[in-house]
């Protein structure tokens, strides 16, 4: 038995979705385990076609431009981007392209 199989059952990282992502994913909130931001995105998109299509360009490699990911309110681009390490205590927020005044 692999340790990772145990951990897959324990998902306590909160991931909030905003804007049109909610409708595409069918939910406003998801849970994930840890790793890097990229791994978390791939994890939550794995069983969610609507979300996968909204986040990635052709498959799960390239994030669509204008998608912003906040880790505890800080833009991941100011950290290590998709390679930023995140764990259960962290909160992710994913925003689709948005604009305002």
């Amino acid at each position: 038995m692999h340790a990772s199989e145990n951990f897959r059952l324990i998902k306590f990282m909160k991931i909030k979705l905003f804007g049109g992502l909610r409708q595409k994913a069918g939910t406003a909130e998801l849970n994930g385990s840890g790793g890097t931001v990229r791994e978390v995105l791939q994890e939550i998109s794995a069983e969610n076609d609507g979300l996968s299509e909204a986040l990635f360009v052709d498959g799960a490699e390239d994030l669509r431009p204008h998608i912003r990911i906040m880790v505890n309110g800080i833009d991941s681009e100011l950290m290590a981007g998709l390679e930023t390490a995140v764990s259960g205590d962290d909160q992710l927020a994913i925003f689709p392209p948005i604009a305002g005044g």
């Binding site: 804007g19 049109g20 906040m70 800080i74 833009d75 681009e77 305002g100």
Partner: protein, 599 residues
């Protein structure tokens, strides 16, 4: 006409004189139109000795060379005056149809001077320009007045004030096309002080571009870019401006309960997503605009109307600790009907709530009381009870109750929906904006939050001065041509320059325009300096400078303004007192202002 109409309508309500004067074309090229032209004319017409609510103040309604050309978003227009709220130069901007229609009557701008003896309206149609009696309209709401005067989409357009303007409420707006607003700074009060109830326009002239081929190409390229940008093609039409409520909250920059906190637990309930889910009927566009960002909403009591926009939803929402979307929406409708700036109204109510909770005002008013909103707004418009204090704006009200530090304003203009402690650059914008705390004159939301054009660190202070300056200058350009800033999310000033060139037949480069923007910005600065403003006024409330955010992603930060101001003055070639240096004025062609600037 091609670009500029070449004519200014000059009306004096004191003696009913109506004159047409030629537009100085050299001035037009230097200051473009709209806000720039308004600033240049105001410099000449309204000096420091003029009281904003006296007959000596003027209202300058101005369009730009591309207005009514049918280039995307070519519907917007400007009003310039001296503000009764801030005593600074005021420029205010609105969309809809009125600006386009006014341009079609064959004028670039309308100057209104003096004061009528009894309430009047101005009508500009094929029959000419008339000043008509409007006593029967005085006292009527904006919606009533607009309908009574025959508002008809793109044929006949009405601009008017409501009871708030009539009662010279300092935060009164001038409304057009029923629910569009020249909102900030109390322009409505100036119009009310002149006994001017409405201006109706019906035009027929066309703004035909000089270079048709180039113009068609620019229309095509602009359409292509607007469509390609998910911001202008999806985000804005689908969710409207309030879609940024959640992201600003998520990063800890959403001012809550009069800027006591920077995150609001109810943010999602008053967001663009919530509006779309619960109350949206459809979206709507202004004239010649494909972006379609306007919301038409309907509450469960059956009231329907435009909005709420992000700022309005914040002002009656997080600022007041209210998460009741329907109450917020109806507050927005009422402000439109009475003719009041929603940002100033909501911010001021939030201030009153804190004054009350702290015991400065004897009242049971407190944060979260959604049921009180409509009554407070109504009382403000009619100056009844506490409404008479609210009508003076948050600063004068807080000062009256001996707690001016609880007023979240800069130069007495109420601060909009971004906490500078979570967005350092925005703090610099608020502190240096020529009309007081304003986000429209260089919004850092793009660079500091949305990564538009690219992400910069919102907590950093070094280097902010340059980006803020460039954004301030480009905003001045956009407000003078007059385009919509949302078009700028997909299309750069480089594009606007080429569209302008196609319309006028004269060549303007991007940098010609940026220089014009700098010229306009600097003249506005000189205007305020002439009024007696100093570098002491380029500041932020104590709370933001000294009280760190208590929790959330922006925890521990205060607004680190001093180093940014220093860098800003240096960047703009102003001295350490924030006064533009002589060589800069000469470089910008502001020689005419040099003498007065150094008085």
């Amino acid at each position: 006409m091609q670009g500029w109409a070449g004519k200014i309508l000059d009306i004096d309500l004191s003696d009913n004189s109506i004159e047409t004067v030629p537009l100085d074309m050299e001035m037009a090229r230097q200051f473009l139109g709209g806000r720039g032209l308004g600033a240049r004319l105001l410099w000449d017409l309204v000096g420091p000795e003029v009281e904003p609510l006296s007959p000596e103040n003027v209202l300058i309604f101005s369009t730009g060379p591309i207005t009514a050309s049918s280039s995307q978003t070519s519907n917007r227009f400007n009003v310039s005056t001296k503000s009764p709220l801030t005593d600074t130069i005021l420029h205010s901007n609105s969309g809809g149809w009125w600006g386009m229609q006014f341009k079609r009557t064959g004028y670039d701008a309308l100057i209104v001077r003096g004061k009528a003896e009894t309430p009047v309206m101005i009508e500009i149609t094929a029959d000419g320009v008339q000043i008509k009696d409007a006593q029967h309209l005085w006292g009527k709401s904006v919606f009533e007045t607009t309908e009574a005067l025959g508002q008809d989409r793109n044929k006949r357009n009405v601009m008017c004030i409501g009871p708030a303007g009539e009662n010279m409420v300092r935060i009164a707006a001038i409304m057009n096309d029923k629910e569009r607003a020249l909102a900030r700074g109390g322009g409505g009060a100036v119009m009310g002080s002149k006994n001017l109830k409405a201006i109706v326009v019906e035009g027929s002239e066309k703004n035909r571009p000089e270079d048709q081929d180039q113009f068609k190409f620019m229309l095509y390229e602009t359409r292509k870019l607007l469509k390609a940008s998910p911001l202008t093609s999806q985000a804005l039409p689908e969710f409207g401006t309030a879609v940024v409520m959640n992201v600003v909250n998520e990063i800890g920059a959403l001012p809550t309960r009069n800027f006591q906190q920077s995150q609001f637990e109810g943010a999602d309930k008053i967001s663009g997503e919530a509006i779309t889910d619960e109350i949206l009927v459809k979206n709507q566009a202004c004239w010649a605009c494909p972006i379609t960002c306007t919301r038409i909403s309907k509450t469960s009591s059956g009231k329907e109307g435009e909005g709420p926009e992000f700022e309005s939803a914040w002002a009656f929402g997080a600022q007041c600790g209210i998460d009741n979307l329907e109450a917020i929406t109806e507050a927005n409708f009422l402000c439109n009907d009475l003719g009041i700036d929603t940002i100033s109204m909501g911010n001021t109510i939030g201030c009153a709530m804190e004054l009350s909770e702290c015991g400065y005002i004897e009242s049971d008013l407190g944060f979260g009381q959604a049921d009180k909103l409509l009554g407070l707004i109504h009382d403000t418009a009619y100056r009844q009870g506490i409404g008479d204090d609210l009508a003076e704006g948050s600063y004068r009200m807080a000062e009256k109750y001996n707690a001016p530090e609880l007023s979240m304003t800069v130069k007495k203009l109420e601060m909009p929906a971004y906490d500078p402690r979570g967005m350092q650059g925005q703090g610099l914008v608020y502190a240096t904006s020529n009309r007081g705390a304003c986000h429209e004159t260089g919004n850092m939301l793009g660079p500091e939050v949305l990564a538009l054009p690219r992400l910069i660190d919102r907590f950093a202070t070094q280097g902010k001065a340059g980006i803020v300056s460039v954004h301030q200058d480009s905003a001045a350009v956009i407000d003078s041509l007059v385009f919509c800033k949302f078009a700028n999310m997909a299309v750069s000033v480089e594009f606007f320059a080429r569209t302008l060139s196609a319309v006028t037949g004269e060549t303007f480069t991007e940098e010609d325009l940026m220089q014009a923007g700098e010229r306009i910005w600097t003249l506005e600065r000189l205007y305020n300096l002439r009024e007696g403003f100093t570098r002491e006024d380029d500041t932020l409330p104590e709370r933001l400078l000294n009280n760190p955010v208590q929790e959330g992603p922006s925890e521990g930060f205060t607004a680190n303004l001093a180093p940014m101001i220093k860098e800003y003055y240096a960047f703009r070639a102003w001295d350490e007192n924030g006064i533009p240096r002589p060589h800069k004025l000469r470089e910008l062609g502001l020689d005419f202002a040099i003498e007065e600037a150094y008085d």
